[in-house]
């Protein structure tokens, strides 16, 4: 990923030795342990989310900002009944000096990861685009998610997918009324916002592979029996630079694979691949419940006086 980061041989060996004895440089004691996920929802705003990985000592390792915005646009000619959706992932100097010379090219990991998240949400219909249609062929909503990396120490893919889905779940677009082909967009003071139609929540998980033997040896050996590689979750930037391959799986709670990618790199036995796919499910279930909880807490805070104003009466009270 990075261009000008130099990792010395000593450091390389140290990190590998640590991984081999299932220790991590940032204090984690297991290869499959993730850092603490923290979701911060900005109060008084919709779909404005900071999402971060915290190290064990409480310092922030990676921090992303996800913001959803919407506008009324003309739909694409091929799909007049559907709204449009766009994700913009931006790595710049803020995330680290190694991203300064970022260019869109086929060989940049950032481009690839950005694409993965975009197609994860688009191709699996996680966002109901038909609900975003106002007048067919003339006016639809365009939903745009901006992902900015504010601090970077690995784990972009997971955080970006969690951040995008949380902000989409949390966002409310302004309500519209259509009268005689005239569209009025109401501000939040006039009418309460409308939630987006999120049909399911896909979350990506990246398994990082580190090779233990020489490449020739690995290709010739039967790796379903022999142990050729180490598999780690949630790599830091240094580990990320040293990894030999990756395996990305995006799942939702309904036991559906939304996306599965093994873009080259170190070959891995088919059995292990299946094993990881099943291993990912409980992790993703946990993250999903964490996400929904954060949104629920925010909702309760926002609606602090809701019970006073509501006409509902407590029939069974007392």
């Amino acid at each position: 990923m990075a261009k000008d980061l130099e990792i010395s041989n000593i450091e390389k060996k140290f990190i590998f030795d640590l991984l081999a004895s299932s220790q991590r440089l940032d204090g984690r004691k297991s290869l499959l342990e993730q850092r603490n996920l923290n979701i911060v929802i900005t109060p008084n705003k919709f779909g404005d989310i900071y999402i971060e990985y915290k190290r064990l000592d409480g310092s922030i390792a990676t921090r992303l900002h996800c913001k959803v915005t919407s506008e009324v646009v003309k739909p694409k000619a091929q799909r007049p009944f559907e709204g449009t959706f766009f994700i913009n992932c931006e790595f710049n100097g803020l995330a680290g000096l190694n991203f300064e010379n970022y260019k869109v090219g086929s060989n940049s990991d950032e481009f690839y990861y950005g694409r993965l998240i975009e197609s994860m949400i688009l191709r699996s219909n996680a966002l109901d685009l038909e609900q975003l249609c106002i007048i067919a062929g003339l006016k639809v909503w365009n939903i745009r998610v901006d992902v900015h990396v504010l601090e970077f120490d690995g784990g972009f893919l997971e955080l970006a997918s969690i951040g995008c889905m949380t902000s989409l779940l949390h966002y409310r677009r302004p309500d519209v009324t259509v009268r005689n082909e005239k569209v009025t967009v109401h501000s939040f003071d006039e009418k309460e916002g409308v939630k987006l139609g999120v049909l399911h929540i896909p979350i990506a998980l990246q398994f990082n592979l580190f090779q233990l033997k020489e490449t020739a040896e690995i290709i010739k050996s039967n790796s379903s029996i022999e142990n050729n590689e180490l598999v780690a979750l949630d790599c830091t930037l240094k580990e990320d630079l040293l990894k030999d391959g990756e395996f990305i799986i995006a799942l939702n709670k309904n036991r559906e694979i939304v996306q599965l990618n093994k873009p080259g790199g170190l070959p891995i036995a088919a059995l292990k691949l299946i094993q990881f796919a099943h291993m990912a499910l409980p992790i993703i279930e946990e993250i999903t419940s964490k996400m929904l909880k954060a949104i629920e807490i925010d909702e309760r805070q926002r609606n602090k006086y809701g019970h006073l104003l509501s006409a509902e009466n407590d029939r069974y009270a007392g």
Partner: protein
């Protein structure tokens, strides 16, 4: 909030240094202080602070040395500094090394090794770490490193930081002020000797470019030393003993 004794002497760029104010002569200037050159317009040699820090005057061999202690992460080579360089490329006459990520490269000529001849040249691989000293710094050329004491021609402990098979080595990146503090300000290395008192046996090499090389017999010990050194960078002096205690019990005596 009361201003402590130290921060009263905090110098920011644009301030007048104490030596300038008192018309005191300074023989050697160190980091953070800039000497304006004599030219036609300003016919005077003046010292200006270029960083935010605390000014410091010491006398050594009847020579007054003025330095400005400041903290930064980016290392700019200065003559006579002991550094840990990473070899990135080798050419017919020299190695190309980096002292910092994203900074310009420096050279390490083969001639700057002890007993260097045309045939006897050191064999370092890319990514190896070398402990060496900055020989010359020029504005037009990349800085030059040396791997010997150029006056005597002795090896003087410079050279490759090796990866022995029985040992576990690691490299820690830290801020420049911390590296300097470990090397110079701590008389007799109290932090490191505190660690030795806890039965941690280790070797260290500290480069003022913010790199600390550690070598111990076992992996967990290396990790322990690594953790202590990186934790102490951000914490108070008083809590050092406690940090050492905690980390040692966490990693070594389980």
């Amino acid at each position: 909030m009361s201003v402590s004794e130290d921060s009263k002497n905090l110098i920011i760029p644009g301030d007048i240094l104490a030596c300038e104010r008192d018309n005191q002569t300074v023989d050697i200037i160190g980091q953070g202080i800039y000497l304006s050159f004599e030219n036609h317009l300003y016919n005077n040699n003046k010292l200006y602070p270029t960083h935010v820090g605390i000014e410091n005057y010491t006398t050594k061999n009847n020579k007054v040395i003025a330095t400005l202690d400041y903290n930064s992460k980016r290392y700019i080579p200065q003559q006579g500094d002991y550094v840990i360089a990473t070899v990135t490329n080798n050419y017919s006459t020299h190695f190309l090394c980096t002292l910092n990520n994203f900074s310009s490269t420096v050279t390490l000529p083969y001639a700057n090794f002890p007993q260097a001849t045309k045939k006897n040249r050191p064999k370092y691989e890319n990514g190896d770490l070398v402990y060496c000293r900055v020989k010359t710094v020029d504005t037009d050329l990349p800085a030059e490193l040396e791997c010997m004491d150029s006056e005597t021609g002795n090896k003087d402990g410079f050279g490759l930081l090796e990866q022995e098979k029985s040992k576990h080595t690691a490299v820690l990146d830290c801020s420049l002020a911390y590296a300097r503090e470990l090397l110079f300000n701590d008389k007799g290395f109290p932090l490191l000797s505190d660690m030795v008192k806890k039965n941690l046996s280790f070797e260290v090499a500290i480069g003022v470019n913010g790199k600390i090389w550690i070598s111990t017999a076992s992996l967990l010990e290396t990790l322990c030393v690594y953790k202590i050194l990186s934790k102490c960078e951000k914490s108070n002096r008083d809590s050092i003993l406690q940090i050492i205690e905690e980390t040692v019990t966490e990693y070594v005596k389980e």
